[in-house]
């Protein structure tokens, strides 16, 4: 295991007035449990605003969690608690092992730095190559690894296409030889043809480098394709989790079922008209509904759902669901 989160919460305060009094909270994450194992891809799906990106940023400690525990197991099997203020050196060590690829390739590279500077930054921060020649050779090697020419080091980000920029972003994440990479919708800003290239590159690299991915996406097909395990999120909570084919073939939670039905079929004749349609928008995370967060839109809503929050319960060995329908 690499990281384990239990009961993770992240609330963003809404501040008002001259003295910035807290007027309320945006509850972006509400009790999220997960674990990420070595060499596995954990896929996170959910619609916009469900807390996928927040979860990714809590895991990489861009955000400090409001509650719960976040444990990091070092390669030496030491346990590190990341949910509170962490010792500087330990945090740096964690940063080396945990990198991130971002969603928007047009804002994830500093426009004022050359590609060489961008790739040099992580190496300099962690003082990996004190020798300049070795470092430059490594940077050129990195560029080749992600399918770019080593001559690109002197160029600026705006000279590249979206797909190339995403490759640079991947090279930057790869530079520190991390144990895990959080991919925050790495393909959603790209053309379809380029998407598959980036996904294939990520999978290739995973096999060669023995890394784990924390793969965030709203694209169910993509998640099915890349993931070993899947977590389905809604309004900051995990609705369903389990092995990828298990979740896809024995879909249990009403919300996941709605999601699965919404995947467009490649054949227009096969498109069903009797799909279950969801009414309305997800409720506001500032004021989430009592009980199950999905109770306002659930086609199978019961009285109990409006009072009590269901917990994630295993229904088979590799599959758990948070829904009262499966409460025996």
């Amino acid at each position: 295991m690499i990281v384990k989160g239990t009961n993770l919460k992240k609330y963003f305060p809404i501040r008002k007035g001259i003295f910035l009094q807290t007027a309320g909270h945006v509850k972006a994450l509400e009790c999220v449990d997960f674990e990420l194992n070595e060499n596995e891809t954990l896929g996170i799906v959910g619609e916009s605003g469900c807390g996928k990106t927040t979860l990714g940023r809590v895991i990489t400690r861009i955000y400090t969690p409001t509650g719960g525990t976040l444990e990091y197991i070092t390669p030496e099997k030491k346990l590190l608690h990341l949910e509170k203020a962490v010792d500087k050196h330990q945090l740096k060590r964690f940063r080396r092992d945990f990198q991130m690829v971002f969603q928007d390739p047009f804002s994830s590279l500093d426009p004022r730095m050359t590609i060489g500077d961008i790739l040099r930054e992580p190496l300099d921060v962690h003082k990996i190559y004190p020798n300049q020649r070795e470092r430059d050779e490594y940077i050129e090697y990195l560029l080749e690894r992600v399918g770019l020419y080593p001559e690109y080091t002197a160029r600026y980000p705006h000279e590249f296409s979206g797909g190339q920029r995403q490759r640079i972003s991947i090279a930057r994440a790869l530079a520190l030889k991390p144990r895990a990479i959080v991919c925050d919708e790495p393909t959603s800003a790209l053309d379809v043809s380029v998407q598959s290239q980036i996904v294939n590159l990520l999978q290739e690299l995973k096999e060669q480098e023995q890394m784990a991915y924390f793969f965030i996406s709203h694209d169910l097909d993509l998640i099915h394709h890349v993931s070993d395990r899947i977590m389905v999120m809604y309004l900051g909570s995990v609705m369903e989790a389990g092995r990828a084919d298990e979740v896809f073939h024995h879909t249990s939670h009403p919300y996941t079922r709605v999601l699965m039905k919404s995947i467009p079929h490649w054949d227009p004749k096969q498109r069903k008209l009797d799909k279950i349609h969801l009414e309305g928008e997800p409720p506001s995370p500032i004021n989430p509904p009592k009980g199950c967060p999905f109770n306002t839109r659930c086609p199978e809503v019961m009285e109990r759902c409006k009072k009590e929050m269901p917990q994630l319960q295993p229904i088979t060995d590799n599959h758990s669901v948070a829904c009262w329908l499966f409460d025996d």
């Binding site: 940063r95 969603q103 928007d104 500093d110 004022r112 930057r172």
Partner: protein, 362 residues
Amino acid sequence: MKGNTELRVRKAFFKHKLGIIGMIILILLYLMILFADFLAPYNYQSTKRDFTFSEPTKIHWRKDGEFIGPHVYGMTKSRDPVTFAVKYVKDEEKIYPIRIFVRGDTYKFWGLWETDIHLFGIGLQDDAVLYLFGGDRFGRDLFSRVLIGGRVSLTAGLIGTLIAVVIGAVVGAFSGYYGGWIDVVIQRLIEILRSFPRIPLWLALAMLLPPTWPSTTVYLGIVIVLSFIGWMGVARVIRGMVLSLREKEYILAAQVIGQSNFKIITKHLIPNTVTYLVVVSTLSIPGMILGESSISFLGLGIKEPMTSWGLLLKQAQSLSDIQAHPWLMIPGLFIILAVLSFNFVGDALRDALDPYRTVDKV
């Protein structure tokens, strides 16, 4: 392409005619103050009792209809028997030709070596002077004093702006990047400081400089006083820019890499505001020049015998002085020239660096 961007910026800049004119004037002005000692025919401190408030010297080219080159005549001071007003009577017998590379007052060129060669002049004469802009109360050459005074005025603006922009950028970036109560404290402090009226605050700060200080130290003090006000506007805008920049994913990427907050500010945030900083610098130099002039004009800045354009204007404070010796206003023309030029260059730079202004006006 980066090259293309630079090319586009350069092209756009050179399309701005007033900007080019301003640029040329500024280059000339700065060359002028760089070689001020050499260009000035006299030492700016040397006094000539016989030529107090002498009007700008007339340069003659012909004598008795015959061309003999530029020359001036000897002068004798006399008083009008009725009004007792000072009059200068020229003595056409004494001809002093204007020559180049003439020997005159000694000075230290750039403080390195002593020399007495001036670009032009008539040498040191007892009964004749070459005062292009006339003489002042002590019979000093106003032209030489304008050249030397420009050193203070033009560099005070430059250095003051540099300090103000650096402080403003750093404070603004910290305020915007950290946010929360740090931001609140800094912003309220700026609001309080900015609500003081500007000139009384300058004067109060200038009063703090001990009168015993040597003039170079006073000069530095004035520069610091000027930048004390200037940084706040920059800090506000930089804060706003950083507020939006810090949400960019490359800042998050730097955090994930483990880059320190200080390095994120200096390596990522401030470089991304640099186009704004360049424009705001050129546009705030004129304010600094005017500020220095105001302080010196009110008598709290640079002290005699050191001089600046503002201090030179101080002599022209009373209407009767201006009426009797209108040439004392000439330093004001130089202030106007410098301020306008900086404004034109700033305008041109702002237009050239604006990425949304791709369509050129015909």
